[in-house]
């Protein structure tokens, strides 16, 4: 069953055709990677999933509902969480608070004036948040200010913020960009563990090592269109991909 389907999506920026008749189906419970050279339209496509951009034509359907013209917070409330290229966290707040905010959002919806309870009284969510931090190995820093974390820990935190919402779909925009090799491997392990829980993921990635370690399926985007969609082992040998993306070099 496909949880997210993109049909005939076009997007222009002035004279530039960023997306050209894109079709894509993401199966529930899989990790789906989208790769492609710089400027292929990967980020544009992702932004169409989360409501930041609206396609000129075509449809984006999540769980049977159209995502067109829907605001980011509404899409999140439908069950789509997103990880950014540079970790987007609440830098002034503690890790615990960082994780509590999405937990509240999940429970209370997009807006609720919950001003009479103290955050400290919300024992259930507090436990859940601490568990989640522990799960990602950053529980001992729960009271630290998030802005001071290392890049890898920020990424962990951001994942924790997404996972605490039990998303139906997790979008990751180059989750290992700019990371040292060791951190990258940690992140891969982390994402593998997440995948094992059955969370559907869409990963946009440059690093082939990451892609081939994780993905169940790969779509290759070039010049705004999906040129190939296949299993990882088939992509490796695909000449079209090598031409478009790797300039002929072997993996």
């Amino acid at each position: 069953m496909s949880i997210l389907s993109v049909a005939n999506v076009n997007k222009r920026f002035g004279g530039l055709k960023a997306l050209d008749e894109v079709n894509l189906n993401i199966e529930a419970g899989t990790v789906h990677a989208i790769i492609g050279p710089n400027g292929a339209g990967k980020s544009t496509l992702l932004n169409c999933f989360v409501g930041r951009l609206k396609p000129d034509t075509g449809t984006v359907t999540f769980d049977g509902k159209s995502l067109l013209g829907i605001k980011p917070h509404e899409i999140n409330q439908m069950g789509v969480s997103r990880v950014f290229q540079t970790p987007e966290i609440f830098g002034d707040l503690t890790l615990r608070e960082n994780v509590l905010i999405p937990a509240f959002a999940k429970r209370d919806g997009a807006f609720k004036i919950n001003a009479w309870n103290s955050v400290g009284d919300e024992k259930d969510l507090e436990t859940k948040a601490m568990d989640m931090l522990a799960d990602l190995g950053i529980a001992e820093k729960a009271s630290d200010v998030a802005g001071q974390l290392s890049r890898g820990d920020k990424r962990r935190l951001e994942l924790a913020m997404c996972l605490i919402q039990d998303p139906k779909l997790l979008l990751l925009d180059e989750p290992t960009a700019g990371m040292a090799r060791a951190d990258t491997n940690d992140t891969i392990d982390l994402m593998k563990r997440i995948a094992e829980r059955g969370v559907t993921m869409v990963v946009i990635e440059h690093d082939m090592h990451v892609v081939f370690s994780l993905a169940d399926k790969i779509s290759v985007l070039a010049q705004g269109t999906v040129i190939v969609e296949d299993l990882p082992e088939n992509i490796k040998g695909n000449l079209k991909v090598q031409e478009a993306y790797l300039g002929g070099a072997h993996l």
């Binding site: 917070h73 987007e88 509240f104 997009a110 004036i113 919950n114």
Partner: protein
């Protein structure tokens, strides 16, 4: 009851605050600030700054137009006195409400923009209110002179209840207790305490957490499933209601509403109070408000005669020299001291006066612990 479930620190802070507020006349007497009018101003502008801090301290939106809500509150209260009753309760309720409604309207438009663009929008609305109140809207506001009571006011509720003020100009009274002098201060003090309590609740609540998230990273918040606009607007309206309440109390203790209450300098004043005391802290804005009002009322009152007496222990030559130097900073020079204070605070104590207190207490703690532990770096979420 869940309502009172506060952390031990918060309870201590709150109890301390209540004691300090109620004992204000006695505590502040040695500083020359223990007289009713200034005490009332401390309480009222304390409320104003507390409310402003809910917006600025939590969400980071820097409004330069909050004086408009204060002014609207004052006009509402005086009109309530004129039309309905001299009892402060209806005036307070209506002025808080009008402050909120005004804030809802202005906030709804201004919050479409962020950063300095937001600041300028709020400034523009407040300045328009001020300029119109001063001139064209004189029938409603009585312009430059300010809206005043008159013997001939209808006061329908008072009349209905058979209350007759005779030939004297009435002043507001709470079932017979006149709202001037110390009773007026205690009336305001009770509201200050209530407002402070509400603010603690907001700061510690999930709602407050969301507001702090707005300041920290609004983009992330939206992608976390939170619609930040209504949060921003609620914070704006709440702070507008605080301002309206403060404006109403100004009119209760002194039934005159002038247009200059809405001027941008008045909006700027509450910004300065908040930053001076410590933006984002619970109690800082009250301290900032107190500091500025103290300067305005006490420092401006030192004239050469007082200075001559103060320096009378010096030989005559030194005495006049000391007086002429000091008089640059007090009396008509009190603005200079205020300006210098702003600079010094922000240069050396970026977190405002509260940071100063924190540093001092950390120093004392360190002394007492023999400088052994490094836990003085307090947890930011529990800062007062």
């Amino acid at each position: 009851m869940k309502l009172l479930a506060m952390s031990r620190n918060d309870i201590l802070l709150f109890v301390g605050f209540v004691i300090f507020t109620l004992a204000g006349p006695i505590i502040l007497e040695p500083f020359g600030a223990g007289y009713p009018d200034l005490l009332q101003k401390f309480a009222i502008f304390g409320i104003f700054a507390l409310g402003f801090n809910i917006l600025f301290g939590l969400t980071g939106y820097l409004s330069f137009g909050h004086a408009a809500f204060l002014g609207a509150g004052s006009y509402t209260a005086v009109w309530t006195f004129k039309l309905f009753s001299m009892n402060p309760i209806p005036a307070i309720i209506l002025s808080t409400l009008i402050g909120g409604i005004f804030a809802a309207a202005i906030g709804f438009i201004s919050l479409r923009r962020t950063g300095i663009y937001f600041s300028i929008l709020t400034l523009a609305f407040a300045q328009m209110s001020y300029n119109l109140a001063y001139s064209v809207l004189t029938p409603i506001t009585n312009g430059e002179t300010g809206l005043q009571l008159a013997q001939s006011d209808p006061r329908v509720l008072d009349v209905a209840l058979g209350r007759d003020y005779g030939a004297v100009l009435p002043s507001s009274d709470f079932f017979g207790l006149e709202m001037t002098g110390y009773p007026g201060f205690y009336f305001c003090a009770i509201f200050l305490i209530i407002c402070f309590f509400i603010k603690i609740r907001i700061f510690r609540s999930p709602f407050g957490l969301m507001l702090r998230a707005v300041k920290s990273n609004q983009n992330r918040l939206n992608y976390t499933g939170v619609n930040s606009r209504p949060y921003d607007l609620s914070a704006f309206i709440i702070s507008g209601m605080y301002a309206g309440l403060a404006g109403g109390l100004l009119a209760v203790t002194d039934p005159l509403a002038g247009a200059e209450r809405m001027q941008w300098t008045a909006s700027g004043e509450v910004v300065l109070m908040t930053i001076l005391g410590g933006a984002g802290t619970l109690i800082g804005p009250v301290i900032g408000a107190g500091a500025i009002k103290y300067f305005e009322n006490i420092f401006s009152a030192f004239n050469d005669t007082i200075l001559m007496n103060a320096f009378s222990f010096l030989p005559e030559v030194l005495q006049s020299a000391a007086v002429s130097v000091t008089s640059l900073f007090v009396g008509e020079g009190w603005h200079l001291t205020l300006g210098a204070l702003f600079m010094l605070i922000v240069i050396f104590l970026p977190g405002g006066l509260m940071e100063g207190f924190k540093r001092i207490s950390a120093m004392i703690k360190k002394r007492m612990n023999g400088g052994s532990d490094g836990s003085a770096s307090s947890n930011p979420t529990t800062s007062a």
